[in-house]
Amino acid sequence: MVSIEAHNQASLLRVAILALISIVAFGSRLFSVIRYESVIHEFDPWFNYRVTMNLVRDGFYEFWNWFDSTSWYPLGRAVGPTLYPGLMTTSAVIYNILHFFNLPVDIRNVCVFLAPVFSAFTAIATYKLTKEAEGPTAGLFAAAFIAVAPGYISRSVSGSYDNEAIAIFIMVFTFFLWLRAIRLGSALYGALTALSYFYMVASWGGYVFLINIIPLHVFALLLMGRYSNRLYVSYSTFYVLGTLLSMQIPFVGFVPTDTSEHMAALGTFGLVQLFGFAAFVKARVPEKEFQLLLKGAVAGLVCLGAVMFAFLSAKGIIAPWTGRLYSLWDTGYAKKHIPIIASVSEHQPTPWSSFFFDLNFLIWLFPVGVYFCFRKLEEPHVFMIIYSLFAVYFAGVMIRLMLTLTPVVCFTAGIAMSRIFEEYLDMRSENPDSRPEEDGTTSGAKDEDRSPRSQPNTSGILKKIPKLPRIGVIFNFLFFLILYQLHCTWVTSGSYSSPSVVLSSQTADGNTFIIDDFREAYYWLRKNTPEDAKVLSWWDYGYQLAGMANRTTLVDNNTWNNTHIATVGRVFASDEDSAYEILKKHDVDYVVVVFGGFIGYSGDDINKFLWMIRIAEGIYPEHVKESDFFNSNGQYAIGDQASQTMKRSVMHKLSYYRFNELFGGRGTDRVRNQPLPSYPIVLNNFEEAYTSAHWMVRIYKVKELDNLGRTFKQSAHFSHINAS
């Protein structure tokens, strides 16, 4: 038998455990593929998928200069300079590598499985990072935690082909490289950090978080009087290279030089130079003169800085007090002034139950880990503390930033958990007296106190099983760990694995029932309308329409042009005739509304309608008024009690047109639990083109102009008279 040394055994075990963790990380994200099929989820991923297909088909240069005239009709969108290309490039590279080795994998499958694969990488990066701070045990725990943490799974299930899918891995990996750079004081690792940061900038707008956390770490270390040459070398290398590299991304451009978000990094860079210079002088000048020099230099610099700041602000070259900075701290700002941000549910603040839902018992291990960080307070621990404080604040303000909090919770919880297991799993010496003292300062008085009395008094059961308390603790925490795994699987399976393109429900006999209305309707559009048809829908469905139906849309999830979105909102909120005018001006051929009243799908357009009205009112206050859509009792009713404006609005008409006929005039809306309008809804300017199987997607054709120049109301009236 080949024997392996204990040291090698441990590293072999670690590799094996890490491999298993990676497999779990990959496996637990496959629910949706198994349950449905290998399909791209939700909204934004459809755009990324479409862009990736173009990239693979046409090559990088075409992609870079691609002007997409089929979105934001009639404005169009220059795609290359308005996106983060990291995700698409990554999957295109993977695709090309696979094809180089003659593995004919479809690009769709590359996109669908990209997020799970990168989650496995994240687990490994988390191991490396936590090991850098605390050691391999904590690293393994942290890796195991992040592998299944629902807060991260929510953005990285298979099919969720979005920037965050790879960005979290890159973020954790950049942090790892940074901590290693600062530990070694190595310019090489500093440069690697910069490269990894470049990848991050290319992938996700959240890079701003990274470029603020690292300088803050440096700043805190300087404040604590921990300046060192290692710090100087690693930060200077990282900042200079990282900033230059980040400016190569067209979407970022010169942003790193002139916005307030990047000023912390620049200021810290300047500060590090000053510290470096001071250290240089200090080594060459006697102590007394150095103190004098230091005081003079500080006073001079403060004055100079104040003058410069006043001058640049007055000139308008820098604008430190912009609304953007303001909105970060005053959380009511966006809600009041930017309805399109407030309308997105993931921009809402986070209730406590979401924290527990997404992190389970990690949420109370988190402060324990931070406590241990404070006890040690070495360079990586300072980093963890700063990261924790900022991430937890941002996660509290905005639910989607739970994603940036999850890694640090896993690191710190890993630290806490490793302390418990290292303490209690050590069964070698259950007798406390023979345990080696950790601190040698224990007084002699204590020694006398414990030994003679404690031994004979030990009660019966403890004598039989002296390790019982230890075993109890271990079992308790093992149980918590198992519970965590169960919780995570339950959350992932129940809440985070729905593709939202395809819905499922349970029939009365327990069978799963797939509702595939979206794809059905988009496919209908693809096959039955002219290729250059313009389709109007609310912006949520823009990317899906472009990706699945391949038709021109007016607005999509990019939301760069608020006026255009408000115009669409106004179409839905106005009466048929004024809507028709706007529709004709924009060459619209088809209008798509999503309606959930039949199957009880609550994310439908009538529920989003209030936001459409608000956004439209922001731009066209003279045409749309929110209060008009509430009836005299102040209710947002849809049936016979609805306000006149509501009944006349295009959205209401298109949603409920002929719907009540299904129920013989006595139906109810299953989402809002209100009776349907009992009168027949008359459409003059639209005709129903298609309604999907469960009435979820309704497509209407905008009628051509009447060839006698009448309004459709007149012509309908005319034919009505002629008929009778």
């Binding site: 009511g332 406590w352 109370w364 303000v397 414990r450 403890l462 308390p469 929110e626």
Partner: protein
């Protein structure tokens, strides 16, 4: 609720208005119920604009019009805007600058800075600053992770009431929470965290084996019961949550 915005609008008019074409008046139901009867007002507060029907500033229409201040959420700027539209004169708000808040902040910063400086000079050479920073950070983390910001942004009520009028501490449903929930939950988190710290830091330092065993079980019981209760509370939020510990 509406007194302050109206006053600020009238102040604006007093300062910036060129003439006396506009008057602001308030009536109270207690003192002038006859006017209320005449105007058929049965609820307050209401804001009604009466255009002049004679004289040089005769309005384009005759009848008084009501401004729906509930829809404007009692916002002074929005009310001024509506009123100026209604009356055809430019109106704004004149809110006297509140010096107390910046002064208060300035005071806090100065005093706080001084205290920190003094502490640093006199006491901090040891680990005290570390401990203070540690305690503050952990309290901050506990507050944030139990939904403090949610309550602040959405102005949640502190406590709810059940049907029978008894106070209810936890609002059912994942989307709403009361102010007191933040406090209870953060206390539960803190209790769990403290028992873990007790188990890993405090217990190994106890020399007496019996007492150590006793403390291990004390901390374990505290931890398990707190965590069980946390799960119970969480099931109020999400009734379909399938896992539970000791408590039902």
């Amino acid at each position: 609720m509406v007194d302050e915005p109206i006053r600020s609008i009238s102040r604006y008019w007093k300062k910036n208005g060129q003439d006396d074409r506009l008057y602001f008046a308030t009536i109270d139901a207690g003192t002038s119920s006859d006017i209320f009867e005449k105007l058929q007002l049965d609820n307050v507060p209401r804001l009604i604009a009466f255009p002049a029907d004679i004289g040089q500033f005769k309005g384009s229409h005759k009848y008084p019009r009501e401004i729906n201040i509930v829809a404007l959420k009692f916002d002074a700027d929005a009310m001024a805007e509506q009123l100026s539209e209604e009356l055809g004169v430019k109106l704004g708000t004149d809110v006297p600058f509140d010096y107390t808040k910046p002064l208060m902040y300035l005071g806090i910063v100065v005093v706080g800075g001084y205290v920190v400086y003094q502490l640093y000079q006199n006491l901090m050479r040891g680990g005290l600053i570390k401990s203070i920073a540690g305690v503050l950070s952990i309290v901050f983390i506990l507050m944030m992770s139990s939904g403090y910001m949610w309550g602040k942004i959405n102005q949640a009520p502190y406590i709810g009431a059940s049907r029978g009028g008894e106070p209810s501490l936890f609002s059912p449903g994942n989307q709403i929470q009361f102010g007191i929930e933040t406090q209870i939950v953060s206390a539960l988190y803190a209790l769990c965290a403290i028992s873990v710290v007790g188990l890993t830091v405090h217990v190994p330092k106890i020399q007496n084996q019996e007492r150590r065993t006793f403390m291990i079980f004390v901390w374990l019981i505290v931890l398990i019961s707190t965590y069980s209760y946390l799960n119970v509370v969480f099931r109020i939020k999400i009734p379909s949550y399938p896992y539970r510990l000791l408590l039902p």
